[in-house]
Amino acid sequence: MSSDPDKLVAKADKLTKLTLTRWSADWRNATLNYEQAANAYRVAKKYEKAKDAFEKASKGQEMLTSPWDAAKHMESAAALAKELGNWNDVADLYRRASELYVECGRAQPASDALGKAARAVEDHLPDVAVQLYTDACSLLEEDDKDQMAFDLYRALTAVHIKLEKYTDAAAALLRLGLAADKCNASNSQFKAYLSAIVVYLYANDVKAAEKCYNDCSQIPAFLGSDQGRCGSRLISAYSEGNVEEIKRLAQSSTITHLDHAIIKLGRKLPTGEVTAVKAGTEEGEGLDEDDLT
């Protein structure tokens, strides 16, 4: 067997092409050849050719009805595409790989593949990354493996925060809380809720933060927890316009235990005009008095 990858690829192509003399493609040998060629290309750092060879090998494995191997080859192809910097290709290849994994009935590697894809493209194609993360999380949730979804949700939140889409980030955190609730991971759940409140406050949306706090307080355990208390103190400090209190709370240990991205937001609190909230409530009271009298 020649070790020259080009020759191997040519040979494999010949094996798969249907001609008069060949009535059925010999996928087994072809796949073998493709794999060898791909490995040789990778060693020689010819990433483009290696990627193509892997893709063909994966197709061969599909034909041989072994989706697991096919998926594995797809992933290798995608990793090479990452080296090349073809971000769209990366996303597509990883998606294909995850579909193949799902065919095998293995949700975990499928979501892993999507996660790797998202991490690879999040710097360059953040929207695509968001989509990939969401798909990965839904895959896991369908399979009742919520615990694994935590990390994905956290990464998703980080991407949203980088894109400055704070409502989306808060929504992602609340979904994290839901997933944590399903597996009784109360600590993660409460930290997720507190992070959501912090994100709303950073976006200067005090009403939404209050609403969020009230929603989360439906869960009695949250009220009594450290994170719940910190959240209520933050909200009350905001409504009183007490800047020192906000700064002090942001330095407190409860906030320090949250994710890095959230800590950075917390340190920058308060944003905007905190006193405006107090003035707003006073005006409201004035109007009420007028109405009554």
């Binding site: 615990q147 694994m148 597996c183 009784n184 991971a185 600590n187 993660s188 450290d226 240990s253 409860t254 320090t256 235990h257």
Partner: protein, 262 residues
């Protein structure tokens, strides 16, 4: 004439001319009529003796003696303080031959007497002092403070300086303790958070480990059955009959080769 004779004679002369001693007569007359004055005199006399005893405490070497004397002083003080209300009631009563100012002066006298009785040192303050200088416990500090709130007599001037110093030290140590406790609280918070996270991580891995367990069990049982079959196959291949045939054939080949090369 001896000294004793002289003394006896002087005594008899004094007694003869006692009725001419104006001050003494006045005193006798007054104290005879006035219950207040009598009681006052009695209380004062006892107070003087108590003060003498208190002074003797300072010079007493024997600790037990000091304690005993202090106890007696305290008892006397309590008794005298009980007499004070009676004295006050008597002071209010109008007595013939006494002017109005003297009546008011009497109540002042009574209160002054009361203060003098209370001020007699009876050893309770001195007991606290050595422990406050030696120890740093907050409880002795508090006891000290309550005594401090009482009197500001010159007797206790030194004590108040020391209480100030001690109180400052107490406050500073309390502040340092608070800071230390804050640091400990933060550390404990971090530990708690880490412990929670570890707990969740372990819970996350429980089903994974279960899966691994199942798969490993299946794999090991597969291996075992494969091994058994392999052993059977190898045994069959290595049966003695085949072995003998192999040896015979080998000898034949060697013989043919030897013949060819001969």
């Amino acid at each position: 004439m001896s000294v004793i004779d002289l003394i006896t004679r002087v005594d008899s002369i004094c007694r003869k001319f006692d009725k001419y001693d104006v001050d003494k007569q006045a005193e006798l007359n007054v104290s005879g009529d006035d219950a207040f004055a009598r009681l006052y005199a009695v209380v004062e006399a006892e107070l003087d003796s108590t003060i003498e005893k208190a002074e003797s405490v300072a010079s007493a070497k024997n600790r037990a003696a000091v304690v005993a004397i202090n106890a007696e002083i305290r008892r006397t003080k309590a008794r005298l303080l009980d007499e004070i209300p009676k004295l006050q009631r008597l002071a209010m009563k109008k007595v013939r031959g006494l002017s109005r100012e003297e009546l008011e002066a009497r109540s002042d006298l009574v209160s002054a007497l009361k203060d003098r009785i209370a001020s007699v040192p009876d050893g309770t303050t001195t007991a606290a002092q050595p422990s406050s200088n030696g120890g740093a416990s907050a409880s002795t500090g508090i006891k000290f403070n309550s005594n401090y709130d009482g009197s500001f007599d010159s007797d206790y001037f030194q004590n108040t300086e020391e209480t100030d110093r001690f109180r400052q030290e107490y406050e500073m140590r309390k502040m340092k303790q608070d800071e230390g406790l804050d640091v400990i609280a933060e550390g404990l918070d971090t530990l708690k958070d880490m412990a929670h996270d570890m707990n969740e991580e372990l819970e996350r891995q429980v089903p994974l480990v279960d899966e691994i367990d199942e798969k490993v069990d299946k794999a090991s049982s597969d291996l075992r059955s494969t091994n058994v079959r392999l052993k059977d196959t190898v045994n069959q291949l290595r049966s003695s009959r085949n072995f003998c045939i192999d040896i015979i054939l080998l000898c034949l080949v060697l013989g043919i080769a030897a013949y060819l090369y001969k």
